[in-house]
Each structure stands twice: as C-alpha cells, then as structure tokens.
C-alpha cells in the first residue's frame, strides 16, 4: 500500500501565541487541496482545539515544550497529527500505535476547555487519540470534490 502523499511538519513552542500560526498554515494547505470555505473553517477550529489542549494540559509550565503538527496531504483527505512531545514524527509508527478514541481520558482534564474535544469530534470525519509517550491526536478530513452540498446545509423541498 503505497499511497502517495505530501507531508508537512511544523514545530512550534507550546504557547498560545502560536496557535494562530498553525491555524493559518492549515488554512493554506486545505485551500490548496480544494476544501470548501466551510470545511476549511472546520479544520481551523479542530486544529486550534487540539493545539490549545496540548498547550494547556501537556505542560505544567506554559512554553516549557514544543508542539509538533504534521499534515498529511492525500488525494482524498487531509490527516493532521498533533503531538505534545518535541521529537519529530515517524508517520508509520505513529499510525500503528493509534487506536480508536480512548474514553479513559478524564473529562475533568478538559473541563475548562470542555468543548474542545467535542468540537474536534464534531468537525472532523475521523479522530484518533493515543496516549503513550505523550498525547498524539490524529484527525482526518475527507475531500468530497463532487458533492454539491453538504447534508446539513440542504434545504428540504418536499411538499
């Protein structure tokens, strides 16, 4: 299975100052891939939520570490990985270690930003979280090029 894709990786200090920079990058990449305006907005929110969680929870002292953000650009989807440790991504081994969303992650950890994970789940097509050796969030948004409208935007015309 050798699916072609481009991979972009960025590493920013784990400070809220840089959430916007990662968001802007995501927006540029998603635009290049042909995502719609609404889908790009979804991606921006989901990515910001994941990084904000990392900035708030991964390090006791803000700015003590780095957040690694990886974008996998495939023919039909964008995969975004957000990791709270400084090391570079090994895409293959990371993907092997990721399971379905783990309900064991205490909700209390998300309390004050309580809607973050909920929004990620609502706005992305697939979300996986792994929790050994630092938290890694892997989320996917599919590109539906030929779809005319999204179901939640459609107006019912039945009479």
């Amino acid at each position: 299975m050798n699916e072609p894709f481009d991979f972009i990786e960025m590493k920013v200090p784990a400070k809220s100052d840089y959430v916007g920079v990662a968001r802007l990058t995501a927006s540029g990449l998603a635009n290049r891939m042909g995502f719609s305006y609404e889908e790009i907005e979804d991606l921006k929110v989901a990515i910001s939520e994941a990084i904000t969680n990392t900035v708030k929870h991964a390090y006791t002292e803000e700015g003590a570490g780095e957040v690694t953000v990886g974008f996998g650009l495939y023919e039909d989807r964008m995969e975004v990985m957000i990791a709270d440790y400084g090391g570079s991504f090994n895409l293959k081994s990371i993907k092997e270690n990721i399971g379905p969303y783990n309900e064991d992650i205490p909700i209390s950890n998300m309390k004050e930003g309580g809607f973050g994970l909920f929004l990620i789940d609502a706005l992305m097509d697939k979300v996986e979280i792994t929790n050994n050796n630092g938290v890694i969030v892997l989320m996917t948004k599919y590109l539906f090029e030929n779809e005319v409208g999204r179901s939640d935007d459609q107006v019912s015309t039945t009479q």
Partner: protein, 108 residues
Amino acid sequence: MNLHIDDHKNGDSSILKLSGEIDAYTAPRLKEHLLNLIEENKEVQVDMQQVNYMDSTGLGVFISALKTSKEVDKTFKLINLQDNVYRLFNITGLNEVIDIENTVRGGM
C-alpha cells in the same frame, strides 16, 4: 491574528465591539474586559460582526460572562455573529442558554 476590543458606553448599557480572532491567545484579555464590563453596566451587548474566527476558548469566555451576568443580575447578549462562529454555538447547544441576536438592528 489578534483581537481588537472597543467599547461604547450608552447610558447604563454598553456595546463591546470585537474585531479579529478569539482563540487561546486572545481569550484571556477578552474575558477580563468583558467580565468587568458586565459588573459595571446593566446591559452589555457584544457585537461579533467583525469576528471571523472563534473556537472553544471563546465559548468558555461567553460561558463565564453568562455566569457572571446571572450572579450580578445583569443582561448580556451576543449580536451579529458570522455564520461560522454561530455554528459553534449551535453544535454545542450553547445557543439555547446564551442570548444571541443575529439580526442587525437598524438606527445605530
């Protein structure tokens, strides 16, 4: 990637005009400003027309604002939200608890 905060006082009510992005970086300053304004005024309207990005940190600020306004018996509402911003209130169900007015009122 910043947030501009501007308030206009009108008697015992106040309009807070926001412009820019509400995220983890800008939310703390907004929260402080907004909570003070609610303490000091009978009614506070937050004009969101120029807010083109918001995430859950913004939802958190408005939840705090709602709590504070209930505690001190003041009125707090959001007006003129862009579609992508309103959508987050809708998805989370917060549009049911926070007073949101989406039409632009004439006679400014």
